[in-house]
Amino acid sequence: MKNELFIFCIVFIPILGALMLPLVGRFSKSLRNAFSFVFVLSALFFSCLLIPQALSGKSVTFVKSLPLGFNFSLTADALAVFMACTSSLVSSIIIVFSFNYISHYENQDEYYSMVTLFLGAMMGLIFSSNLILLYIFWEITGVTSWRLIGFFRQKQQVLKADKSFLVTVFGALLMLLGFLMIYQQIGSFDLSAIKLAAKTSPVPVLALVLILCGIFSKSATLPFQTWLPDAGVAPSPVTALLHAAVLVKIGVYVFARLFIVTFVVPDFLRILVVIIAALSAIISAGAALLETDLKRIIAYSTISQIGFIFFGFAVGNELAITGALLYILMHGLAKAGLFLCAGIVEQNTKTKDITQLGGLIKTMPVTAISFLFCAFSVMGVPPFGGFFSKYLVFAGSIKAMPFWIVLVYLFGAFLTVIYLFRVFNLVFLGEGHGLSAKEKGPLMIFSVALLAFLSFVGGVLIYYPSLFAKSAAVQMLGLMR
């Protein structure tokens, strides 16, 4: 019972809190900021309280039966708890960053309310074990990211916000059709019921493909990737939160939840996912090489890295899944760090064009070093966290996949190194083009440094997260010790 209460706290404290933030904001801005941070932090706190239970290999479920299979059911297994810890950790740091970053813009009430609501919906999505419940939270994250991308309210930003909302809703509706087809066959939206039934009668392939469309649209994978770079018009903490660390992981998470844990997936579909993810990884890495807008480069890099996570999950053995889970964590930390560094650079120099920047390491040493650390982690340089996740994904896949596919992904990893060094070179090294600015905002610098530090420490102390990820992978595959 205690653990069930924790799940409720994780999901509903941020959601209900988000609704009262605008009211608090009318009286005191700093109180509102503090509340917002506390709500997000409480999600992290309660998620951490669930870790011992998750490590023990058992799961907690709360079910309230409703007619037509619309059960209200929340489940906390190791996968969900791992995901919840990761997302809420990254989100808390990003909230700290926004205290300084957002402080001189309008519509702050809406900003904090939407960010907190987003986190709550994300938590709801992670713990929901009913397709309709999952869909509801999925769409709430879409609505909040629509408001957040359009934060600056200029026509250009609102258009991009509309685009990302429409693309993800289109994908989500296809996914809903897939859900309904499954419902047709099985008569319930409840994941445990579906899992039971799927063993004897496999889910229709068309439904799986439709669900994949939804997943790809949310995770900005080919052919639905275009909204993600465009969404870079949002404020940096938003891009970090939504488009690097948390939102795009929704698709990956749902893939893991449905395609590995719940359904029995035919082999050709796995290969299809591997190929699409490979294309996505290579093409967007190429785009990142050519792009000159700092945030767009990082956005393309996200699309590329998401491909690796899909790869790990689609391979589907214990090693690769452990790697993919670690990848979610390490990439979340490092990519959030990159986006936030980009935010610091952008806010202080007023440009995102990397050809106009240069030599910033002299005036912004902490930002530069943090950027470098995070970039090392994304590249997969040992001993940073990103190395281990990438290594495990490759180690798992080399046994299970044809060699040429692994080579394609290795090429993608190689491109990652090139484009990240290119960015670092152009922005922080070399000659300045007259644009030099000091680092401002102590909380902003603190949060990027913290993310860089975590990326490093996550690698050095890889034992603990990998233990967690491994037990999650074991539980997902249903292997018994």
Partner: protein, 473 residues
Amino acid sequence: MSHLLILVPFCCVIILNLPIRKVMRSLAPVAAIVLSLLQVVMVLCFDCHFWQTQFGIIGTFFKFNLVVDRLAILMLLCIGIVSFVTAVIARVLIKERKERFDFASLLLISLSALNGIVMVRDIFSLYVFLEIAAVISFILIAFKANLLAYEGAFKYIIFSAIASIFLLCGTSLLLITSGSTDFSLINASLTAQAFSPSIILAVGLFLVGLFIKAGVVPFHWWLPDAYSEAPSPVSVYLAGIVTKAVGVYALIRVAVSVFGMHKSICTVFLLLGAVTIVVGAVAAITQTDFKRMLSYSSISQVGYIILALGSASPLGIAAACFHLFNHAIFKSLLFVNAAAVELQTGTRDMDKVSGLSQRMPITGLTSVLGSLSCAGIPPLAGFWSKLLIVIALLSTGHFVYAVVAVLASVVTLGYFLVMQRKVFFGKISEEFSNIKEAGLGIVVPEIILAAITVGIGIFFPVILNRFILPLGG
């Protein structure tokens, strides 16, 4: 006692028009608000004594066969809520005292007619009440008495007259073939002698008449003009409840309890429903007039109701009624938003305004909720009714129609995002930097309607079993 729902508003109008003008003029708007609110309260305590008691003397004078079932209760609730909102915002939006009085009187007559439509159980009384409601609507649309308003009213008169002819012909043919106008008797004789040519003709005529009244494509040409040129409170009233009760509710009632859900009728419903959804939604994208856009959206949403009806399963019928209710709420909300914008900025042209939610936060927020509900974004009410519609379609094997219904939501969301971007979500222009939020008379209805939409969405699991599923019968 359900007779009182028809008689009280009607008598009220007569009393208000007694020759003590001065008192009555200020009393009439209040009477409209109080009566509609009273109706909401009566409906909400559905189990109370009021509905069960027979009112002896009045019953002998008025030989209507009135039946109040769950669907009727739902509609009565809808009528009450929308009339209440209309009456409240009319107090703000209509400035002239005489006009206010006229409006309130007309609203009361219309209220009694709509209540009649919902409760009657014979086809001729239905026709009579439909006509009363239609005549009141002509006057209401032309209320502003300018050229465009006359154009809208004129179109509505013409289309409505054609519909009336169809309905009357259908009624008389049914009377000839079955010897009665009572719903159940007609139904019995229809099942006995299905497919006789005169019955097919009668049913066809009747349905076409109701399609015109409901604004189903391809009979929808009057609707955008009528909605957008009418004064704002009238738009709310027409879009929120009049066409829904006159057209859509009558269609549901007649299709379910008179004609029975015959296969060929269902095919017609499915086809017209799908076409209506798509045509309405696509037409809405290109509109620049706020109310015109909402009118086309309204057409499109009626398509969903008809489509759900076409699935012919109890779940489909329940979903149709549920969507009808939800649509009445969120579309009234959006029309109230449009009224607020028009009141504060003096224009309905979406290209001329921008970023209003910075100055009108409540209107902005409620319009987002209304739009998202209409587009079927969870957890708002519109999502659940659309979901039930799609489930009903899938479970009766209409996969293609289900796909149309689902994917049309993208288009719906598209035009609402265009509206949001142009009107509310953006930078406020210089010209409007000093505008204020509309007064309490508009903001309070907005909040009430938005709260209903959100509330139904969140507490849907609670109401699903108790209220919605039984609607299918």
